[in-house]
Amino acid sequence: MSAASPRPAAGRSLPAAAPPGDPSVGAHLGLAAALLLLPAVASGFILVQIGAQSLILGLLALSLMVLAGYGGMISLAQITVAGIAGYTVAILGENSVAVHGFGWPWWLTVPVAITFAALGAALIGWISVRTQGIYTIMITLAIATAMSLFAQQNYTLFNGFEGFAGIPAPTLFGQRLRAPMAFYYLCLGVAALCYVAVLYGARSTFGLGLQATRDNQRRMRALGFDTTAHKVFAWFLAGIIAGLAGVLLVWFQGRISPGTIGVAAAINILVIAVVGGLRHPIGPFLGAVVVVLIQTFATDVVGAARHNTLIGITFLVIVYFSPDGLLGLWSRFQGQFRQNPLRPGDGA
């Protein structure tokens, strides 16, 4: 009779519930309202440095969450994919370093940049899907490192160590998109679109198939699925998200260089995704907010030299207490909250 009998690890929600899918509409509407109204109370600094930056890094971590959470493929090359888009924008559009800068309009550079990013991602995926687990991490880390080093040494295309600067965000209907509020809303719009697309797609035939491939690739093949194609397609789709993030990133920073796509940046994305949690597409954004807040304000609290230490410790503490990141902590908290009134046996 005891309610506490065959319960697995604390905090797992009851298995009878619908498989992890869509949380309540109410929670989403509340969050959307808060994010939409943020400019009414927040300064331009907060909107861009915290808001927009969290949304961009959250998008990058979301593209990793799609691969890792649904597909079981941990990629360290998402920043590389974003870099493909960013460099494309710098080369085809305008920049101030007098290398390339063909001056194409944004409505041409952006689609081309995202197409390149998605195709590049598919190629990286195609190379890495033969591997599994730790080997996927290693091969994507190798690709990210190689790309960053290549960009650093290649002057004809990437302008080497210096990279590109003075990359403007476009002006739309007389409105500079890089103005704080406009840029915040732009990032919010793109992030919301990708978030909803991922939530929806997770329960599409393709999304279910990706999760099934993660759980049992051999069985998927025995159901008629070409699992290699399935996973490469997932890389392609995640590449679109990372490409969008790359375009926003290069507009945000106004510059791109090998450091932007270096190993430290690659690991930053992984930390964000893991801190937030990989079980639901909201996780990457939670993680991004936490990491960006620490990166922005820790300098004031612990000094510039130690803010990475603080991020490291936060990372350690969260992962130690919850392998599912902040999402896991939240559902554990909720689980306990819900559990208590449901314990008739214990009271007696």
Binding site: P15, A16, A18, P19, Y200, G201, R203, S204, T205, F206, G207, L208, G209, Q211, A212, R214, D215, N216, R218, R219, M220, R221, A222, L223, G224, F225, D226, T227, A229, H230, F233
Partner: protein, 261 residues
């Protein structure tokens, strides 16, 4: 009962569903299959018996392409499928179950069977959610009724009992209009009631759907098959009707001798 058909189907010069010629499988020094020849007609129900390590599962893996054979030829409904990837063989109407359940722990029962229906359609990469009246979803629910899992359709696969997982294995093999099914010890670990249900499911399959069933339980095997193949050490050493096999002195010595110590 389906017992009216078998004899006529066997005697007829029926079309061949599965044709194996000299199929060999080597694992390093081990010869798991040694030149296996086998011909199964369309709609035929065949049992494969043999002791542990005889090569029965290896034979299935060679046919489905899970682990392609080292040498030999495999034809499926006339087409040479020896070199085709596993998923391509499935799309041609071949299905299988696994001796050790191979399921999707993170998915619901219904979504698992839905994927099995979609895997052999062109919409397997669709980015759209299935509508409630989707043909694949409807077929999935019908199949879940057949195997008796419809009450559990929204459960996660990971919470199913052993017997329920075995039923889901069967459900996955029935999805998407199969032409020929390979059942690898579907009855292992089932209760007597579950066994009876299994026999009923097999006997209720459409007449054109043939299968090979690997089964250690002689009683079950003889009840669901019209022809029996005995394997030992990677070779076929005897074939015949259930009656012939049951009466065979050698079989009794080896097979039943093993079973009863």
């Amino acid at each position: 009962m389906t017992d009216a058909h078998p004899a006529s189907r066997l005697s007829a010069e029926g079309a061949t569903a599965l044709d194996l010629r000299g199929v060999t499988k080597r694992f390093g020094a081990l010869q798991a299959l040694v030149g296996v020849d086998m011909r199964v007609r369309v709609g035929e129900r065949r049992a494969v018996l043999g002791s542990n390590g005889a090569g029965k599962t290896t034979l299935f893996n060679a046919i489905t392409g899970d682990f392609p054979c080292t040498s030999g030829r495999i034809r499926f409904f006339g087409d040479d499928i020896t070199l085709l990837p596993a998923e391509e063989r499935i799309r041609r109407g071949l299905r299988r179950t696994y001796q050790i359940s191979q399921l999707f722990d993170g998915l619901s029962v219904r979504d698992s069977v839905f994927l099995a229906c979609r895997g052999v359609s062109r919409r397997r990469l669709s980015l759209l959610r299935p509508r409630t009246d989707d043909s694949g979803m409807e077929q999935a629910l019908r199949i879940l009724q057949v195997v008796g899992l419809d009450d559990l359709r929204d459960q996660l696969v990971s919470v199913l009992s052993h017997g329920q997982k075995r039923q889901l294995e069967i459900a996955l093999a029935l999805a998407g209009a199969p032409r020929f099914i390979l059942f690898d010890e579907p009855a292992a670990g089932l209760s007597p009631t579950e066994r009876r249900d299994l026999v009923a499911i097999l006997n209720a399959l459409p007449a054109h759907v043939g299968y090979i069933i690997i089964e250690h339980d002689l009683d079950v095997a003889l009840r669901v098959s019209e022809y029996v193949t005995m394997m030992h050490n990677g070779k076929i050493f005897k074939e015949g009707t259930p009656a012939e096999i049951e009466d065979d002195a050698e079989v009794q010595a080896i097979y039943l001798g093993h079973g009863h110590g």
